[in-house]
Protein backbone atom coordinates (compact mmCIF):
# COMPACT_ATOMS: atom_id res chain seq x y z
CA UNK A 1 0.00 0.00 0.00
CA UNK A 2 1.39 3.35 -1.05
CA UNK A 3 0.06 6.72 0.12
CA UNK A 4 -1.46 9.20 -2.32
CA UNK A 5 0.99 11.80 -3.62
CA UNK A 6 1.97 14.70 -1.40
CA UNK A 7 4.62 17.37 -1.13
CA UNK A 8 7.23 16.91 1.58
CA UNK A 9 9.09 19.61 3.45
CA UNK A 10 11.53 18.97 6.24
CA UNK A 11 11.24 21.87 8.67
CA UNK A 12 14.57 23.18 9.93
CA UNK A 13 13.03 24.85 12.95
CA UNK A 14 9.80 25.07 14.92
CA UNK A 15 9.21 28.58 13.55
CA UNK A 16 9.55 27.28 10.01
CA UNK A 17 7.09 24.46 10.72
CA UNK A 18 4.51 26.91 12.13
CA UNK A 19 4.99 29.25 9.16
CA UNK A 20 4.41 26.35 6.77
CA UNK A 21 1.26 25.32 8.64
CA UNK A 22 0.00 28.91 8.53
CA UNK A 23 0.68 29.13 4.80
CA UNK A 24 -0.90 25.81 3.85
CA UNK A 25 -3.68 25.51 6.45
CA UNK A 26 -5.76 22.35 6.33
CA UNK A 27 -3.79 21.05 3.35
CA UNK A 28 -0.71 20.40 5.50
CA UNK A 29 -0.13 17.83 8.23
CA UNK A 30 2.74 17.58 10.65
CA UNK A 31 4.85 14.44 10.43
CA UNK A 32 6.79 13.42 13.55
CA UNK A 33 7.48 9.68 13.86
CA UNK A 34 4.73 8.93 11.36
CA UNK A 35 3.45 5.85 13.18
CA UNK A 36 -0.10 7.14 13.45
CA UNK A 37 -0.26 9.22 10.26
CA UNK A 38 1.50 6.99 7.72
CA UNK A 39 -0.74 3.95 8.33
CA UNK A 40 -3.78 6.20 7.74
CA UNK A 41 -2.19 7.58 4.58
CA UNK A 42 -1.37 4.10 3.29
CA UNK A 43 -5.03 3.17 3.72
CA UNK A 44 -5.94 6.50 2.04
CA UNK A 45 -7.98 7.44 5.09
CA UNK A 46 -5.85 10.58 5.16
CA UNK A 47 -4.61 12.35 2.04
CA UNK A 48 -2.80 15.52 3.08
CA UNK A 49 -1.39 17.57 0.21
CA UNK A 50 1.72 18.39 2.19
CA UNK A 51 3.70 16.81 5.01
CA UNK A 52 5.77 19.09 7.21
CA UNK A 53 8.38 16.82 8.77
CA UNK A 54 9.36 17.98 12.25
CA UNK A 55 10.86 14.63 13.25
CA UNK A 56 14.40 15.96 13.35
CA UNK A 57 13.83 18.97 15.59
CA UNK A 58 16.01 17.46 18.29
CA UNK A 59 15.48 20.46 20.58
CA UNK A 60 11.98 19.07 21.15
CA UNK A 61 13.28 15.68 22.34
CA UNK A 62 13.96 15.65 26.10
CA UNK A 63 12.66 14.57 29.48
CA UNK A 64 13.35 17.18 32.16
CA UNK A 65 12.51 17.48 35.78
CA UNK A 66 11.04 20.84 36.78
CA UNK A 67 10.06 21.92 40.26
CA UNK A 68 6.48 20.69 40.17
CA UNK A 69 6.25 18.64 37.01
CA UNK A 70 8.10 16.48 34.53
CA UNK A 71 8.42 18.07 31.09
CA UNK A 72 8.63 15.85 28.03
CA UNK A 73 9.47 17.35 24.66
CA UNK A 74 6.79 16.58 22.10
CA UNK A 75 9.22 14.82 19.76
CA UNK A 76 10.56 12.46 22.40
CA UNK A 77 10.16 8.94 21.09
CA UNK A 78 8.31 6.36 23.18
CA UNK A 79 11.49 4.31 23.64
CA UNK A 80 13.28 7.36 25.01
CA UNK A 81 10.45 8.15 27.44
CA UNK A 82 10.35 4.51 28.58
CA UNK A 83 14.09 4.44 29.30
CA UNK A 84 14.52 8.00 30.61
CA UNK A 85 15.99 7.96 34.15
CA UNK A 86 14.05 11.17 34.90
CA UNK A 87 10.74 9.66 33.76
CA UNK A 88 11.44 6.38 35.57
CA UNK A 89 12.11 8.28 38.81
CA UNK A 90 9.52 11.06 38.70
CA UNK A 91 6.81 9.89 36.31
CA UNK A 92 7.12 6.09 36.46
CA UNK A 93 3.60 5.46 35.17
CA UNK A 94 4.35 7.51 32.06
CA UNK A 95 7.63 5.65 31.49
CA UNK A 96 5.93 2.28 31.94
CA UNK A 97 3.04 3.02 29.58
CA UNK A 98 5.37 4.48 26.95
CA UNK A 99 7.16 1.12 27.08
CA UNK A 100 3.90 -0.76 26.44
CA UNK A 101 2.92 1.03 23.22
CA UNK A 102 3.00 -1.13 20.09
CA UNK A 103 6.31 -2.95 19.92
CA UNK A 104 10.02 -1.99 20.06
CA UNK A 105 10.14 -0.94 16.41
CA UNK A 106 7.10 1.30 16.86
CA UNK A 107 8.55 2.77 20.06
CA UNK A 108 11.78 3.62 18.23
CA UNK A 109 9.81 5.89 15.87
CA UNK A 110 6.57 7.06 17.52
CA UNK A 111 6.60 10.28 19.55
CA UNK A 112 4.63 11.39 22.59
CA UNK A 113 3.44 14.60 20.92
CA UNK A 114 2.39 12.80 17.77
CA UNK A 115 0.50 10.12 19.64
CA UNK A 116 -1.39 12.63 21.77
CA UNK A 117 -2.21 15.06 18.95
CA UNK A 118 -3.59 12.15 16.93
CA UNK A 119 -6.47 11.95 19.45
CA UNK A 120 -7.05 8.22 19.07
CA UNK A 121 -9.27 7.03 21.96
CA UNK A 122 -7.65 3.58 21.72
CA UNK A 123 -4.12 4.88 22.35
CA UNK A 124 -2.52 4.55 25.77
CA UNK A 125 -0.85 7.87 26.56
CA UNK A 126 -3.94 10.14 26.65
CA UNK A 127 -5.38 8.07 29.51
CA UNK A 128 -2.15 8.53 31.46
CA UNK A 129 -2.28 12.27 30.88
CA UNK A 130 -5.88 12.42 32.04
CA UNK A 131 -5.20 10.32 35.14
CA UNK A 132 -2.19 12.43 36.08
CA UNK A 133 -3.85 15.77 35.29
CA UNK A 134 -1.28 16.66 32.65
CA UNK A 135 -0.95 19.76 30.51
CA UNK A 136 0.00 20.29 26.87
CA UNK A 137 2.08 23.26 25.78
CA UNK A 138 1.28 24.25 22.20
CA UNK A 139 2.84 26.88 19.99
CA UNK A 140 1.37 28.75 17.05
CA UNK A 141 1.85 32.03 15.20
CA UNK A 142 0.61 33.96 18.25
CA UNK A 143 2.98 32.27 20.68
CA UNK A 144 2.55 29.59 23.31
CA UNK A 145 -0.45 28.51 25.33
CA UNK A 146 -1.20 25.71 27.75
CA UNK A 147 -4.14 23.33 27.45
CA UNK A 148 -5.26 21.03 30.25
CA UNK A 149 -5.35 17.43 29.05
CA UNK A 150 -9.00 17.24 30.13
CA UNK A 151 -9.85 20.02 27.65
CA UNK A 152 -7.71 18.66 24.81
CA UNK A 153 -9.67 15.71 23.45
CA UNK A 154 -12.79 17.11 21.76
CA UNK A 155 -14.27 14.29 19.70
CA UNK A 156 -13.28 11.24 17.66
CA UNK A 157 -9.73 11.98 16.42
CA UNK A 158 -10.31 15.71 17.06
CA UNK A 159 -8.20 17.70 19.51
CA UNK A 160 -8.07 21.33 20.63
CA UNK A 161 -5.22 22.25 18.30
CA UNK A 162 -5.65 24.98 15.71
CA UNK A 163 -4.43 23.95 12.23
CA UNK A 164 -1.32 26.12 12.59
CA UNK A 165 -0.45 24.98 16.13
CA UNK A 166 2.14 22.41 17.22
CA UNK A 167 2.31 20.50 20.51
CA UNK A 168 5.76 21.32 21.85
CA UNK A 169 5.76 19.89 25.37
CA UNK A 170 3.83 17.50 27.58
CA UNK A 171 3.82 18.21 31.31
CA UNK A 172 2.75 15.82 34.03
CA UNK A 173 2.81 16.42 37.78
CA UNK A 174 5.56 14.46 39.51
CA UNK A 175 4.29 11.12 40.75
CA UNK A 176 5.67 8.09 42.56
CA UNK A 177 5.17 4.37 42.55
CA UNK A 178 1.44 4.44 43.35
CA UNK A 179 -0.02 3.57 39.98
CA UNK A 180 -1.54 0.72 38.06
CA UNK A 181 -1.87 0.14 34.31
CA UNK A 182 -3.97 -2.60 32.75
CA UNK A 183 -4.46 -3.25 29.06
CA UNK A 184 -6.44 -6.05 27.45
CA UNK A 185 -5.14 -7.04 24.02
CA UNK A 186 -5.35 -10.15 21.89
CA UNK A 187 -1.77 -9.83 20.65
CA UNK A 188 0.97 -8.12 22.67
CA UNK A 189 1.48 -5.32 20.14
CA UNK A 190 -2.21 -4.50 19.57
CA UNK A 191 -4.19 -1.47 20.60
CA UNK A 192 -6.13 -1.95 23.81
CA UNK A 193 -9.54 -3.56 23.50
CA UNK A 194 -10.00 -1.81 26.85
CA UNK A 195 -7.38 -0.25 29.10
CA UNK A 196 -7.28 1.54 32.44
CA UNK A 197 -4.73 3.55 34.35
CA UNK A 198 -4.96 4.65 37.97
CA UNK A 199 -2.57 7.00 39.72
CA UNK A 200 -2.52 8.07 43.37
CA UNK A 201 -0.86 11.42 44.05
CA UNK A 202 -1.11 14.07 46.75
CA UNK A 203 -4.02 15.50 44.73
CA UNK A 204 -6.02 12.28 45.02
CA UNK A 205 -6.63 9.37 42.70
CA UNK A 206 -6.94 9.86 38.95
CA UNK A 207 -8.33 7.18 36.64
CA UNK A 208 -8.10 7.18 32.84
CA UNK A 209 -9.86 4.81 30.44
CA UNK A 210 -8.62 3.62 27.05
CA UNK A 211 -10.98 2.84 24.17
CA UNK A 212 -14.18 3.35 26.18
CA UNK A 213 -15.73 6.06 23.99
CA UNK A 214 -15.05 8.39 21.08
CA UNK A 215 -12.46 10.27 23.16
CA UNK A 216 -9.99 9.27 25.87
CA UNK A 217 -11.95 9.40 29.14
CA UNK A 218 -11.52 9.97 32.84
CA UNK A 219 -13.52 7.63 35.06
CA UNK A 220 -14.93 10.50 37.09
CA UNK A 221 -17.44 8.44 39.06
CA UNK A 222 -14.62 6.13 40.17
CA UNK A 223 -12.41 9.06 41.15
CA UNK A 224 -15.23 10.61 43.20
CA UNK A 225 -16.03 7.33 44.91
CA UNK A 226 -12.40 6.85 45.93
CA UNK A 227 -12.27 10.45 47.17
CA UNK A 228 -15.32 9.67 49.32
CA UNK A 229 -13.59 6.67 50.85
CA UNK A 230 -14.78 3.76 48.68
CA UNK A 231 -12.42 0.80 48.32
CA UNK A 232 -11.12 -0.43 44.96
CA UNK A 233 -13.78 -3.10 44.53
CA UNK A 234 -16.72 -0.77 45.17
CA UNK A 235 -15.26 2.19 43.26
CA UNK A 236 -14.47 0.05 40.20
CA UNK A 237 -18.15 -0.92 39.92
CA UNK A 238 -18.70 2.65 38.64
CA UNK A 239 -16.08 2.36 35.87
CA UNK A 240 -18.62 2.10 33.04
CA UNK A 241 -20.52 5.26 34.04
CA UNK A 242 -20.45 7.84 31.27
CA UNK A 243 -18.67 5.53 28.82
CA UNK A 244 -19.80 4.92 25.23
CA UNK A 245 -17.54 2.18 23.89
CA UNK A 246 -18.07 0.95 20.36
CA UNK A 247 -18.90 -2.64 19.51
CA UNK A 248 -16.63 -4.47 17.07
CA UNK A 249 -15.18 -7.92 16.43
CA UNK A 250 -13.19 -7.62 19.66
CA UNK A 251 -16.22 -7.24 21.88
CA UNK A 252 -19.70 -5.86 22.48
CA UNK A 253 -20.51 -2.71 24.43
CA UNK A 254 -21.52 -4.79 27.47
CA UNK A 255 -18.30 -6.81 27.28
CA UNK A 256 -16.13 -3.70 27.18
CA UNK A 257 -18.03 -2.14 30.08
CA UNK A 258 -17.55 -5.31 32.12
CA UNK A 259 -13.85 -5.47 31.28
CA UNK A 260 -13.46 -1.79 32.21
CA UNK A 261 -14.71 -2.55 35.74
CA UNK A 262 -12.28 -5.46 36.10
CA UNK A 263 -9.30 -3.49 34.78
CA UNK A 264 -10.10 -0.40 36.86
CA UNK A 265 -10.29 -2.55 40.00
CA UNK A 266 -6.91 -4.12 39.23
CA UNK A 267 -5.36 -0.74 38.42
CA UNK A 268 -6.73 0.81 41.62
CA UNK A 269 -5.41 -2.08 43.70
CA UNK A 270 -1.98 -1.75 42.12
CA UNK A 271 -2.09 2.00 42.83
CA UNK A 272 -2.62 1.19 46.49
CA UNK A 273 -6.30 2.11 46.78
Amino acid sequence: MIPASFDYVRAGSLDEAIALLKEHGDEAKLLAGGHSLLPLMKLRLAQPAMLVDIGRLSELSYVREEKEYVAVGALTRHHDVATSPVALASAPVLAHVAGQIGDPQVRHRGTIGGSISHGDPASDLPAVLLALGGTLVVEGPKGRREIDAKDFFLSFFEVALAPEEVVVEVRVPRSDGHWGFEKLTKRAQDWAIVGAVAVRTSNGVGVGLINMGPVPLRAKAVEEAVASGANAVDAAELAAEGTEPSADFNGTVAYRQHVAKVLVRRALEKAGV
Partner: protein
Protein backbone atom coordinates in the same frame (compact mmCIF):
# COMPACT_ATOMS: atom_id res chain seq x y z
CA UNK B 1 12.92 14.57 -4.28
CA UNK B 2 16.54 13.69 -3.55
CA UNK B 3 17.33 11.28 -0.73
CA UNK B 4 20.82 10.60 0.54
CA UNK B 5 21.55 7.92 3.07
CA UNK B 6 24.16 5.37 3.97
CA UNK B 7 22.94 1.84 3.35
CA UNK B 8 25.12 -1.01 4.56
CA UNK B 9 28.09 1.33 4.60
CA UNK B 10 27.60 2.65 1.06
CA UNK B 11 26.54 6.24 0.40
CA UNK B 12 23.39 6.23 -1.75
CA UNK B 13 21.70 9.13 -3.50
CA UNK B 14 18.53 8.91 -5.60
CA UNK B 15 15.53 10.90 -6.70
CA UNK B 16 12.32 9.42 -5.29
CA UNK B 17 8.71 10.45 -4.91
CA UNK B 18 8.05 11.67 -1.36
CA UNK B 19 5.49 8.88 -0.93
CA UNK B 20 8.09 6.16 -1.54
CA UNK B 21 8.28 3.92 1.51
CA UNK B 22 11.73 3.04 2.83
CA UNK B 23 11.10 -0.66 2.18
CA UNK B 24 10.33 0.02 -1.48
CA UNK B 25 13.40 2.23 -1.80
CA UNK B 26 15.56 -0.55 -0.37
CA UNK B 27 13.99 -3.32 -2.46
CA UNK B 28 13.13 -1.64 -5.74
CA UNK B 29 15.67 1.17 -6.08
CA UNK B 30 18.66 -0.44 -4.38
CA UNK B 31 17.76 -4.05 -5.19
CA UNK B 32 18.17 -5.15 -1.57
CA UNK B 33 15.40 -7.71 -1.62
CA UNK B 34 16.50 -9.42 1.60
CA UNK B 35 14.12 -7.12 3.44
CA UNK B 36 10.70 -8.71 3.02
CA UNK B 37 7.28 -7.13 2.97
CA UNK B 38 4.83 -9.10 5.06
CA UNK B 39 1.70 -7.44 6.37
CA UNK B 40 2.48 -3.91 5.12
CA UNK B 41 0.60 -2.58 8.21
CA UNK B 42 3.32 -2.17 10.89
CA UNK B 43 2.35 -5.46 12.49
CA UNK B 44 4.48 -8.41 11.37
CA UNK B 45 8.05 -7.08 11.49
CA UNK B 46 9.22 -8.83 8.29
CA UNK B 47 10.44 -5.47 6.94
CA UNK B 48 12.49 -4.59 10.04
CA UNK B 49 15.78 -2.80 9.29
CA UNK B 50 18.12 -0.75 11.45
CA UNK B 51 18.02 3.04 11.19
CA UNK B 52 20.94 4.53 13.11
CA UNK B 53 21.27 1.20 14.90
CA UNK B 54 17.63 0.95 16.05
CA UNK B 55 15.07 -1.50 14.67
CA UNK B 56 12.24 0.10 12.67
CA UNK B 57 9.54 -1.23 10.38
CA UNK B 58 10.52 0.04 6.96
CA UNK B 59 6.94 -0.24 5.63
CA UNK B 60 6.03 2.65 7.94
CA UNK B 61 8.91 5.01 7.24
CA UNK B 62 9.16 7.23 4.19
CA UNK B 63 12.45 7.09 2.31
CA UNK B 64 12.60 10.89 2.57
CA UNK B 65 12.32 10.63 6.36
CA UNK B 66 15.43 8.46 6.41
CA UNK B 67 17.47 10.84 4.26
CA UNK B 68 20.66 11.55 6.19
CA UNK B 69 20.41 8.34 8.21
CA UNK B 70 22.54 5.22 8.45
CA UNK B 71 20.49 2.20 7.37
CA UNK B 72 21.45 -1.46 7.79
CA UNK B 73 19.61 -4.32 6.10
CA UNK B 74 20.19 -8.07 6.32
CA UNK B 75 22.62 -7.76 3.37
CA UNK B 76 24.86 -5.58 5.53
CA UNK B 77 25.09 -7.95 8.48
CA UNK B 78 27.88 -10.33 7.44
CA UNK B 79 31.32 -9.55 8.84
CA UNK B 80 34.04 -8.04 6.65
CA UNK B 81 35.77 -11.40 6.26
CA UNK B 82 32.59 -12.96 4.91
CA UNK B 83 31.61 -14.85 8.06
CA UNK B 84 28.03 -14.46 9.21
CA UNK B 85 27.12 -12.00 11.94
CA UNK B 86 26.81 -13.79 15.32
CA UNK B 87 23.02 -13.38 15.22
CA UNK B 88 22.86 -14.95 11.75
CA UNK B 89 25.21 -17.72 12.84
CA UNK B 90 23.03 -18.42 15.87
CA UNK B 91 19.99 -18.80 13.60
CA UNK B 92 21.87 -21.40 11.58
CA UNK B 93 23.23 -23.20 14.63
CA UNK B 94 19.82 -23.31 16.36
CA UNK B 95 17.80 -23.90 13.21
CA UNK B 96 15.93 -20.70 14.06
CA UNK B 97 13.79 -20.74 10.95
CA UNK B 98 11.31 -22.85 9.07
CA UNK B 99 10.10 -21.14 5.89
CA UNK B 100 12.53 -18.27 6.47
CA UNK B 101 10.27 -15.39 5.47
CA UNK B 102 10.36 -13.68 8.86
CA UNK B 103 14.08 -14.39 9.36
CA UNK B 104 15.67 -11.17 8.04
CA UNK B 105 13.32 -9.09 10.19
CA UNK B 106 13.93 -11.34 13.18
CA UNK B 107 17.71 -11.01 12.78
CA UNK B 108 17.48 -7.21 12.61
CA UNK B 109 15.07 -6.99 15.56
CA UNK B 110 17.29 -9.25 17.69
CA UNK B 111 20.40 -7.26 16.75
CA UNK B 112 18.70 -4.09 17.98
CA UNK B 113 17.40 -5.85 21.09
CA UNK B 114 20.84 -7.16 22.04
CA UNK B 115 22.32 -3.71 21.61
CA UNK B 116 19.83 -2.35 24.16
CA UNK B 117 19.96 -5.39 26.41
CA UNK B 118 23.16 -7.46 25.89
CA UNK B 119 22.20 -10.11 28.45
CA UNK B 120 18.48 -10.73 28.01
CA UNK B 121 16.49 -13.39 29.80
CA UNK B 122 14.24 -15.68 27.77
CA UNK B 123 11.29 -13.49 28.76
CA UNK B 124 13.17 -10.34 27.68
CA UNK B 125 13.65 -11.93 24.25
CA UNK B 126 10.03 -13.02 23.93
CA UNK B 127 8.77 -9.56 24.94
CA UNK B 128 11.42 -7.90 22.78
CA UNK B 129 10.17 -9.81 19.74
CA UNK B 130 6.52 -8.84 20.23
CA UNK B 131 6.73 -6.88 16.98
CA UNK B 132 7.85 -9.83 14.84
CA UNK B 133 5.51 -12.60 13.79
CA UNK B 134 6.56 -16.07 12.60
CA UNK B 135 3.63 -17.66 10.79
CA UNK B 136 5.34 -21.04 11.02
CA UNK B 137 5.15 -20.41 14.79
CA UNK B 138 8.80 -21.38 15.05
CA UNK B 139 9.38 -19.15 18.04
CA UNK B 140 11.11 -21.72 20.21
CA UNK B 141 14.27 -21.89 18.13
CA UNK B 142 14.14 -18.19 17.25
CA UNK B 143 14.24 -17.32 20.95
CA UNK B 144 16.97 -19.89 21.46
CA UNK B 145 18.98 -18.31 18.62
CA UNK B 146 18.66 -14.90 20.26
CA UNK B 147 19.93 -16.27 23.57
CA UNK B 148 22.80 -18.13 21.90
CA UNK B 149 23.69 -14.97 19.97
CA UNK B 150 23.71 -12.93 23.18
CA UNK B 151 26.31 -15.27 24.64
CA UNK B 152 28.27 -15.27 21.38
CA UNK B 153 28.19 -11.47 21.18
CA UNK B 154 29.46 -11.27 24.75
CA UNK B 155 32.39 -13.42 23.73
CA UNK B 156 33.14 -11.07 20.83
CA UNK B 157 33.22 -8.00 23.03
Amino acid sequence: MKVEMTVNGTAESHDVEPRTLLVHYLRDTLGLTGTNIGCDTTSCGACTVLVNGQSVKSCTVLAVQASGDDVTTIEGMALADGRMHPVQQAFQDCHGLQCGYCTPGMVMAITSLLKENPEPSEEDVRVGLEGNLCRCTGYHNIVEAALVASRSLEMHQ
